[in-house]
Symmetry: C2
Subunit: 190 residues, 2 copies
DNA sequence: GTCTATACGACGATAGAC
DNA sequence: GTCTATCGTCGTATAGAC
């Protein structure tokens, strides 16, 4: 199935933005990698900004689907929240192209379309969190801790900042599960 | 106390790199902000790279001191680890200039000098962790979870990715403490 | 849709006057 | 130490031929 040229350009742009970040992304380099002249991409995207926004939309849409599928496969609230944690580090471990561009949040200037994409996941998470915290404030607190913890794990993994012994997918997933469990089982401080 | 020109340039560069990241940092903009010609900074730094490395060294040195002081003020192992967590989010909340440039790890190309600066903190952390895990592998696992969780919290805070209700320093510090406690009190999964 | 050619600007870095 | 002037490179974007 031969892709339309716009999607093809997005594919290459995704690789590129993964390597150099949204800030380092240039139309010139994109053209080079696509084997086209510098003018060609402008037939498919009005300008650099439009291309980056298309990219952000694509990435967030993919994440949404992955999160929803992973959570739907788990029947229990605890399972859903753990699945969310594991899926996050899997993005980092197996899908750098999808994860890295999100790091510098530059790429996702919370447009309405993107906010809408995220809503579904947030609602699912809140529903699951309601089994671990009574009022809505406490549920939000819990989700923030869970998201932050797994996001941090995923980031350090991507940046190569973890000790060598921890750089396997299996280990990083296990760590994500332990983090999620610890957060869900929190007790009063010592 | 009138600073030497090199330090003065580093101050301004630190602000700049905080705003635009190491990749977006330019000597031209630095010169502009310093009220100098584009040539002037080259009297104090051989090239752009040298300036960025000097910046990285300064930042890491400052972090080291802050971590060591914060941990020294706490007598118990739990207190030291919690202090580490809190200090991390404080960097994010109060000292964006010190924290943000570390995000894209570009700025710290693990030179020997930087590795050495980090060693002290790591040793302190390992000593404290030894009260919560028996063998050294488990201690490292624990520290990775703790670092990742607080780093994630700090990152989301800096990026403005937290819900509005969570954007105060007090709340974010409380969240860091809860994360640390949860990790230190981990039990078997449900 | 793709090309070549071009206008224009920003940056890194250096040369040479003061 | 700082300036002005300059070179070379690279980027965005457009115009017009094919």
């Amino acid at each position: 199935m031969p892709q339309d040229p716009r999607s093809k350009l997005e594919d290459i742009a995704l690789d590129l933005v993964t390597e150099v970040g949204p800030r380092g992304f240039t139309m010139a380099e994109l053209s080079r990698r696509a084997g086209l002249s510098v003018a060609a991409p402008y037939r498919h995207f009005a300008d650099r900004q439009e291309l980056l926004e298309a990219l952000a939309l694509r990435i967030v849409g993919l994440q949404r689907q992955r999160y929803l599928d992973a959570m739907a496969a788990e029947p229990t609230p605890r399972g859903k929240l753990v699945a969310f944690a594991v899926e996050t580090v899997r993005f980092a471990a197996n899908d750098g192209q999808v994860f890295d561009p999100m790091l510098p949040l530059q790429l996702t200037p919370d447009t309405p379309a993107i906010v809408e994409l995220r809503t579904d996941v947030t609602l699912e998470l809140l529903a699951a969190a309601s089994h671990f915290a009574s009022d809505q404030n406490a549920q939000l607190d819990l989700l923030v801790r869970l998201s932050a913890a797994t996001y941090g794990l995923a980031s350090l993994y991507r940046e190569g900042a973890l000790p060598e012994e921890q750089r396997s997918v299996a280990i990083i997933e296990a760590q994500a599960v332990r983090l999620a469990d610890a957060i869900l089982q929190e007790r009063a401080p010592l």
